[in-house]
Symmetry: C2
Subunit: 189 residues, 2 copies
């Protein structure tokens, strides 16, 4: 998606340890028009797939998945990172490692919201080591639902998570695939 | 907002300790059409206010604030509940008590994203004791920005947070104001 790549080149900030900050437009301050267009791009990519639900994960996946879900007219479900009194007690649970937080987090989805009859598209902002997507794939599998594929806004391909998922036969669509961030230079595939 | 009240009566579940579960349509599984209409309702409520930005808080405020921000054509900023390597180090920080998690959480907004020239509308899903909104108001004040008002989807008025904010002169708009949940019976104002 050219507009997205241009925006990453303009406003993305490379930090030590392979971290790319895009919080000025994607995951703390949101350029709402851009995210609407990202949602439409995902909807086009997965159009005609027979999806019944979009699955994402709090927090930074939510707005992107919402923008897509509204174009497709589908419900959105997002995994929570905290047990809470306003959730069901009967949940699917997986564990993900956050690259930016450098710690493990349990994630939860109420069993009521994914069933074996569902066809799921997973949406998130970043794909680095693939841990968050793998955790969401686990939950889709626990529910016995069908996984249509995964859509991510930015894939840091050099961290290997995307290819590990593809090698498992999972369809992964990334709108901006970065193959290198060396010497402060962002290179797309 | 009548559609919202009808939906709360139909699908809301009262749990012990004054907890209202609406996660089947508002904050884990999202009825995207309803949330679009909630966003439009807030946009109507705060139309003509000269707002420059919407401020919300992860995770369950994000979709609602996004739905509003896209109608108003404004950027959305949301407070994070975790320090992270993909955030700026230069942040406004406040502390909020979560009623549903029964614990304190620090919240962060990068200083880059709110300035003294901004006019802010704060949006969240629930208003109970008012701690999350108070924390966001603190951040608006730290930035020297102007607070236009706060919009919440569901106010549990019997927990007092809304009136405490109103007594400070803050405009608070709630789309469904619950005055009692006794005997498993939800009563709106």
């Amino acid at each position: 998606m050219q507009e997205l790549k241009d925006r990453i080149l303009r406003d993305g900030i490379i930090k030590r340890g392979g971290v790319l900050r895009v919080d000025s437009f994607l995951n703390q301050q949101l350029d709402v028009g851009l995210i609407d267009r990202i949602g439409a791009e995902f909807a086009k990519e997965f159009g005609g797939s027979g999806a019944t639900k979009i699955l994402s994960i709090e927090a930074s996946g939510i707005a992107i998945a919402f923008a897509m879900a509204r174009v497709m007219g589908l419900p959105l479900v997002y995994a929570k990172k905290h047990a809470s009194r306003n959730l069901s007690d009967d949940v699917y649970k997986s564990t993900v490692y956050s690259f930016t937080r450098m710690s493990n987090t349990d994630i939860y989805v109420s069993k009521e919201y994914i069933s074996k009859d569902d066809k799921i598209i997973i949406i998130d902002d970043f794909l680095a080591n693939g841990s968050a997507l793998s955790g969401l794939v686990d939950i889709v599998n626990m529910a016995g639902a069908e996984l249509i594929g995964c859509g991510v806004v930015i894939e840091k391909a050099f961290q290997g998570g995307g290819n590990a998922l593809r090698e498992r036969g999972i369809r992964v669509c990334s709108l901006a695939k970065i193959i290198s961030m060396e010497d402060n230079d962002i290179v797309f595939e």
